[in-house]
Structure formats: structure tokens, C-alpha cells
């Protein structure tokens, strides 16, 4: 075999790797979540609208829910807010919010001005719960099934289109038909 073909062969391999890299590149900068397929992290946090009340992960068991991490300081969260309102209207899956490293008064004002897509908002002031969920930027959105297993994680501002193409197929058919 002509050993001078080796460099060309190596380059072909490299080109293949790079091509695959391009295909995956919209997801670059996003870290694959090790939580997929595992139990959603336990937490017990005060509720935004009523700090004396607590929301815990146990309260959410038994149904599908969307867990959306956001903050008023986050520009992209403002972008996705409209989409979240639509998703709340469309789907029967409740949207649970996690207000991350934020000020309660600002968050309340934000929701009253822009609309509230969340069934309930938990407040994470010191960020510990966010770490447990492997959050590293906002917004991030998780989909959790009734057994409490994290089924999917989406990084970045959600759009209705992304919801339809990525989240809805994971839901059981009866719910999906309603979207």
C-alpha cells in the first residue's frame, strides 16, 4: 500500500469528525445533562407569591411538569416569556418556575407586567438548588415525568416551535394531541 496515502487518509478522518462537529454545533456551549434518566433533585423552597409556603419536589410527583429556570436579570428569559405563556395556554403540562438568584420584588413585578405562565414559582436565592439541577445559565427548561425522572433538558430561550419539536414528542399521546 502506498504509505504516502496515509496523510490523505488521516485528513479524510479529520474532515468527517469536523463535519459531525458542525452538525452538532448549535448545541455547543451546552453541556449534556447527566440528569437525563435520573431522578429530579429533591428540593424544598419558598414560593414567590407566598414565602411562608414551601414547594417541594414531593409536591410535584405524580404528574408531568416543565421546570423552567429564569431570572429578571436575564435578557433571553424575557425573550422566551411570550413562548412560555403560549405553552401554558396550549399544553396541559404545568410550568413550574425557579426564580434563580433574583430579588422577589423584581420577580413579582416582572410577572405582573409580562404575565405569569407559571403554576407556581419557587425561589432559589443562594443557588444551591440550581446547582443540584446542573444549571449553569438561564434560561434552562426541564421536562419531568410523573415518576419524578428528568426526561429532557433544554438550554436557552424556548420557542413554541422548539416546544413542539422537542418536548411534545416526549409526552404521552393524549396530552400531545391537545398541544
Amino acid at each position: 500500500m502506498n504509505r504516502f496515502l496515509l496523510p490523505l487518509g488521516a485528513f479524510v478522518l479529520l474532515a468527517v469528525v469536523l463535519a459531525i462537529g458542525i452538525r452538532h454545533s448549535p448545541e455547543k456551549g451546552t453541556i449534556a445533562s447527566p440528569l437525563i434518566g435520573k431522578a429530579a433533585p429533591q428540593f424544598a423552597l419558598p414560593v414567590l407569591t407566598d414565602p411562608k409556603r414551601q414547594l417541594s419536589s414531593a409536591d410535584l410527583k405524580g404528574r408531568w411538569y416543565v421546570f423552567n429556570v429564569w431570572g429578571t436579570w436575564c435578557v433571553a428569559c424575557r425573550d422566551e416569556h411570550e413562548a412560555l405563556l403560549q405553552i401554558q395556554r396550549l399544553a396541559e403540562v404545568p410550568v413550574i418556575g425557579l426564580d434563580w438568584k433574583d430579588e422577589d420584588s423584581l420577580a413579582l413585578r416582572w410577572l405582573s407586567e409580562l404575565g405569569n405562565p407559571y403554576e407556581v414559582v419557587a425561589v432559589d436565592h443562594d443557588g444551591r438548588t440550581a446547582i443540584d439541577w446542573g444549571v449553569y445559565g438561564a434560561p434552562e427548561t426541564f421536562l419531568v415525568n410523573p415518576e419524578g425522572i428528568v426526561v429532557y433538558k433544554y438550554v436557552g430561550p424556548l420557542s413554541v416551535q422548539e416546544w413542539q419539536t422537542r418536548f411534545v414528542p416526549l409526552l404521552p399521546p393524549r396530552r400531545a394531541a391537545r398541544s
Partner: protein, 167 residues
């Protein structure tokens, strides 16, 4: 091509930039949503009372990747998540956990990516062994070439000046 005109990226000095770009999927937006800090400098003035813990703390925070400013360690990164993670490391060390416990904790939440030094496992073996393999390969090539060339030395009649080792 010459007729392309981009719809205005509305810019207002000092205000948040609302651009048609932000509605494009993920990539750009992800990088936008930091706590309005660029990945500049963080100065971590944590000083644990026990010097042994302090040096372990420094070592660990220089080993863990900042998950937002992904080419920095959490020691150097100014963003909120980095200081949250540093606090986590501190608390775990003070609570008596081992270095491996800290690493496992982080990896369970963020994946292997959070470690700057890939752990030696079946997955990463090829990465660590590759340079060694290359060296061995290089040595073999060198041996082969040298054998061949030193056998040819007597055969050519080059009137080479041996005096000046000029380049």
C-alpha cells in the same frame, strides 16, 4: 449579493440590544445570558482557617471548569455560578469530604466536562495514551530511517566539506 440589506438591529446606546439574532436557536442566546459580566477576572479571597484545607480548596477550584465561562476555572471566573460552586467546594471541604467526593458531586450534576483534567478511565484512556503511542511510533520511524541512511553513507561520492557545520 449586493442587494442584501439586513433588517435593522435596533441599537440604542446604553440600552439592552434587541436584535433579530436573539430569536435564533440556542447558541448565541446561551452565551448572552450571563449575569452581565464578561468573563473577566475574579479574585477569590477565600481564606480557610486550616492551611491544609486552603491548599486543597485552591487546588480543587483550579481544577473545576466554570460551566458558564467555559475556558476558565471556577477560581478565576467572575460569574455567579462560579462563586456558588466555590462556596459548595468550601462547604464540602469544611464538612470533611474528600477531594474525590467533591469531584463526584460536581460530575454528578454537570458531567465529566466540569473537570479540567480528564479522569483516566476507559473513555479517556486513548487521550492520555496517545502521546505515548506517538512517541513509540516516532522512535520506530527514526530507527528505520537511521538504519537505512547509515547503510548508504559509504556509497555516495559527495565531496562534502566536513569542516564548516553551516546551516
Amino acid at each position: 449579493m449586493a442587494d442584501q440589506v439586513r433588517t435593522s438591529a435596533a441599537t440604542s446606546p446604553g440600552g439592552p440590544i434587541v436584535s433579530t439574532r436573539l430569536t435564533r436557536p440556542v447558541l448565541l442566546s446561551t452565551l448572552v445570558c450571563l449575569l452581565w459580566a464578561t468573563c473577566a477576572l475574579a479574585v477569590d479571597t477565600t481564606e480557610l482557617s486550616d492551611p491544609a484545607l486552603q491548599s486543597r480548596y485552591l487546588a480543587l477550584t483550579h481544577e473545576l471548569r466554570c460551566v458558564q465561562c467555559q475556558n476558565q476555572t471556577i477560581a478565576d471566573s467572575p460569574v455567579g455560578i462560579a462563586s456558588d460552586l466555590r462556596r459548595q467546594v468550601r462547604e464540602m471541604l469544611v464538612a470533611g469530604k474528600s477531594d474525590d467526593d467533591v469531584r463526584d458531586y460536581m460530575v454528578a450534576r454537570y458531567g465529566e466536562f466540569i473537570l479540567f483534567r480528564p479522569r483516566f478511565s476507559a473513555h479517556t484512556a486513548w487521550l492520555w495514551l496517545a502521546p505515548v503511542v506517538l512517541l513509540v511510533g516516532g522512535a520506530l520511524i527514526a530507527v528505520r530511517v537511521l538504519r537505512k541512511r547509515s547503510a548508504l553513507v559509504g556509497q555516495d561520492n559527495e565531496p562534502l566539506e566536513e569542516d564548516t557545520p553551516s546551516s
